[in-house]
Structure formats: C-alpha cells, structure tokens
C-alpha cells in the first residue's frame, strides 16, 4: 500500500506545479454552471416553486456538486492515457515493475484528481455563493460525509474509466466506449437528479453507477438524510469492489494478448 501512496504523493506534488493551468481550466466548468443557472431559472417560474421535490437553488447546487465530481474525475484524460499505454507499448514498462498496473493507474490518477478537485470545489462553491447567495447546509458533519461520498464517487468513476481504457487490449481505441459511459453519467446523472425520471425507470437508476458516482453525493449536499447517507455509502463500497474486480478481469485477459515490438 505504501508504494501506491508514494505514487499518489508524487503525482500530487507534480500537479501542484500546474496550479494556474487548473484554475484556468475551471473556466469551462464555470461556463456549464452559468448555463445551468440560466436554464433552471428559466424553467422555474419563481424561486418558491418545487419540481420533483427540488427548488431552483437545490437544482443549481445539485449541478454544482456533480460538476465538481465530474471535473475532478478527468475520465477522458485517464482513458486516453491507458489507451495510449496499451497501444503505444508503454505498458511494457509498467508490467515488469513491482506494482499492479491498475493500482498504479488509480493512485497516479487520484493524485491529479485531488489537486483538481480541491481547486474546483473552492471555485465552484464561491461561484455558487455568488450566484445564489446561500448554502444548502452548514452542518460540519454533513459536509464531511458529503466530502467522503464525493471522494468515493471519484474513485469509482476512475475505476470504471480504467476498465473502459483497458478495452484497448481488444480494440485499438477505447475512446468511443468512454464517450458513451460519460454521456450516460453526464446526461442522466450530472444534469438531473433521479427523481426527474419516470417512476418506472427510477429503481433501475438507483442500481446504476449514476447513484454512486453523481446522484449520491449531490443529493446528500442539497437534502441530507441519514438513511440515504447509509444506503449511498453501502452502495459505493460495493461498487468499488465490483469495479476493481472488473478491471482485474479485463487486465488479466487483455495482458495475455499483449505483443510489444521492441522500443
């Protein structure tokens, strides 16, 4: 475990050199938040209106939290990195090292995600305060639980992205599969809470990755409930286990097909 912590720390220190880039990169996320601020204010005729159990402020805070998590995940970068490692043969330098490639990729990626997550959280919360002038919750314990749930969401999303990236062992470019995964999470999980979908679909969504990757932490932030909190944490731990097993399975099958031609 110590070696992965060391990899995590090295990546974290390396990312601290590019703080300005990350702050600048928040502009894209800020634009999305601005668009949804306008969109939800257009949809809600007044601030007291409640749609599917959410007020306009709760909807905007929901999008802010899911966007922070999604921004910190940087799935496209991770998927491209793993895809390039496999296609370019770089993976050959990793498989003969005394660490597990999945663990290495996860630890390294989480180092980057930590720095980006902190910057995005600070800036997005400031933006949210400026746009709405209030916070859904100020209870420290609730905020800590939301933070832990958000971290677990990033871990799960990173493991799913590694899983998709490892498809490159079988097809040359796994990016298209990542597009589909990202749109599934983005359109269904990041923009709308599960309650916005028809009653028939809701139970399925509660068993899908959306529940643990985006809906869970955001729901806890806008409307904290201890029962929801427990079920979200249980689901997140199960998903971490399942996602890791899936990664290991694909990696084991894929690495047998690896053929590196010199370098």
């Amino acid at each position: 475990m110590r070696k992965y912590l060391y990899i995590y720390k090295s990546e974290l220190m390396s990312q601290l050199q590019y703080l300005f880039n990350l702050v600048f990169g928040f502009i894209g996320c800020g634009i999305i938040l601005f668009i949804f601020f306008n969109l939800w204010h257009y949809i809600y005729s007044d601030s007291s209106q409640i749609i599917n159990g959410y007020s306009v402020d709760q909807m905007i805070w929901y999008v802010i939290i899911t966007e922070i998590i999604w921004g910190a995940c940087m799935g496209r970068t991770l998927c491209r990195k793993i895809s390039n490692d496999v296609r370019g043969g770089n993976i050959a330098y990793n498989i003969n090292k005394p660490y597990n490639y999945i663990g290495y990729s996860l630890a390294s990626h989480l180092g980057t995600a930590t720095v980006k997550g902190i910057i995005y959280t600070v800036l997005a919360l400031i933006l949210g305060l400026v746009m709405m002038g209030n916070f859904p919750t100020t209870n420290v314990l609730e905020l800590v639980l939301v933070l832990i749930s958000s971290i677990l969401a990033v871990v799960i999303s990173s493991l799913f992205t590694i899983f998709i990236g490892l498809f490159s062992f079988f097809i040359e470019d796994s990016s298209p599969f990542y597009w589909l995964y990202s749109k599934f999470i983005l359109v269904i999980g990041v923009i709308f809470p599960i309650e916005y979908f028809p009653n028939v679909v809701q139970p399925f969504l509660k068993f899908s990755p959306i529940y643990v990757v985006s809906y869970g932490p955001a729901k806890l932030f806008v409307n904290f409930n201890i029962n929801d909190c427990i079920s979200i944490f249980v689901a997140q731990f199960i998903y971490i286990l399942v996602a890791y097993l899936l990664c290991s399975l694909v990696y084991k099958k894929g690495v047998r097909r690896l053929n590196v031609n010199g370098g």
Partner: protein, 264 residues
C-alpha cells in the same frame, strides 16, 4: 490566378483524402468512432425530452427547433473538426516549431497546416446534423440551406480557432486560452439563446459568434429571410479575413526552432 486557386484546392482535397485514408487503415476503429459519436450526440435528446416535459417552450424554442439547433451545432463542429482538425492544435504547432514543415511547401501555409489531418469521429457529427435536419424538415431547399449554413458555421468556428491559435506567435502557453475559447463556442451552441439575458446575448453576436453559426441559421430555416442569410455570409467572410490577416501578421514573428522530426 485561377490555375493557382485550382491547384490549391486540388492539393487541399488531396491532403484531406490522405488524412481520411490514414483514419480508415483500421476500419473497425473508424466505423466505431463514427457510430459512437452519433450515439454520443443522440444521448442529449434525453436531456431535452426531460426539460420539455417541464415546459413547452424553452428560450423561445420548441422541441423540434432545439433538435435543429443541435443539428447545426453538430454539423458546424463536424465541418470544422473533419476538414480543419489541426487548427485546434495550432498553438502547439507554433510553439513546438512544427510550422517549419508547412512553411517550406510551395502552397498556402495556413491551409497546408490546418488540413493536414482529419478527425474520423467528426463524420459522426456531420451525419448527426443531417439526421436532425431530416427529423425537422425534409425538402431540397432546407437541405441546401442547411449545407450552406454548416459550411459557414464551420468556417466561423475554424476562423475563431485560427485567431486563438495565432496568439502563440506573440505569447507563450496560449494552449489553454485557445482551448477555453474554442470550448466556449461548443458549450453555448446547443442551448437556446432565449434562456440568456443581457451582455451574454451580445457576446453571441460578437466575441463568441454562435449567433451567426447557429441561432440565425435556425431562424432562417424556420422562417426564411434574406437578411439573415446575408448576415451569416457577410460575417463568415469578415471573420475569415480577420483570421487570415492575424495568422499572416503573426507568422512574421515566427522563428524556426530547427525541429528535426520524421513525418510519416
């Protein structure tokens, strides 16, 4: 003069053709890229189905008009990223001295750089654009107008990318600025302008000209007016001229880095 233009067009088309052939080397990946991009774009229909279940009219647009807006956004993106892919890495090309290879060629430098590669998935965007058009309106006139508008929109998007990319002639580390500027065009393009107010709306017709690339074309296609058409054509020409002028002005500041590399 006419022969020079003819030759330049021939070289540019050949460059795009070879770029496409490179992408088609692995047919499975090529087709997967296109199909998945179609699915990727189509997934956003769900977002609008949910939003329109809450309100009949969003920002002055009906559901069909939003589909058409998506058609224009995808088509514009497709034209720009398929034919002029390398314009989106212009900053990097200038900063790393990769412009040398194009400068020594006896053809137009800017065209040579930006058409030297194609993006296969952008074909998926182009196809998606036409699917959205056919869902909203099937007629030869709308097909021709749509094609004209996405070419204009693609040129506007490419011109803006040339302007952002050319900043690298004067400043260092402009990649992030260029990326952010280009993503502004994409992010706003799929939302009805009516949901925005004040200064932001003005930006759509000035610094982020998606008004001319997307909003006016939707209006013209729904209710034809010649002024809208002329405005799009005029602004496209103006932005393109500005972009070319800025690029060649900046090129005078370019100095070779003596980069040695193999182009395969």
């Amino acid at each position: 003069m006419l022969t020079v233009v003819k030759n330049q067009i021939k070289v540019t088309l050949l460059s795009i053709k070879y770029g496409l052939m490179r992408q088609m080397l692995n047919k499975t990946t090529f087709i997967t890229n296109i199909i998945f991009m179609l699915l990727n774009n189509a997934s956003f229909i769900l977002q609008w189905v949910i939003l329109y279940s809450l309100k009949d009219n969003i920002g002055g647009y009906t559901f069909k008009q939003v589909l058409l807006l998506w058609g224009f956004a995808a088509g514009t993106y497709g034209v720009s990223h398929f034919f002029f892919k390398r314009v989106f890495s212009l900053s990097d090309i200038i900063n790393t001295g990769k412009l040398d290879a194009s400068i020594i060629q006896p053809k137009n430098i800017l065209l040579s750089v930006i058409t030297s590669d194609v993006e296969a998935s952008a074909l998926g965007d182009l196809i998606y654009g036409y699917i959205m058009l056919f869902i909203c309106d099937i007629s030869i006139s709308s097909f021709l107008l749509f094609t004209l508008f996405i070419i204009c929109g693609g040129i506007i998007m490419t011109s803006i990318a040339i302007i952002y990319g050319s900043l690298a002639f004067w400043f260092n580390n402009t990649e992030m600025l260029a990326d952010t500027g280009n993503s502004l065009m994409v992010n706003f393009a799929t939302y009805p302008e009516g949901i925005f107010k004040g200064v932001v709306k003005t930006l759509f017709y000035t610094l982020i000209p998606i008004g001319f690339a997307n909003y006016i074309p939707v209006q013209v296609l729904n209710d034809f007016n010649v002024f809208g058409l002329l405005a799009v054509l005029g602004v496209t020409t103006l932005i393109l001229c500005m972009a070319i002028a800025i690029f060649y002005k900046g090129l005078k500041n370019y100095s070779s880095s003596n980069l040695m590399s193999a182009r395969i």
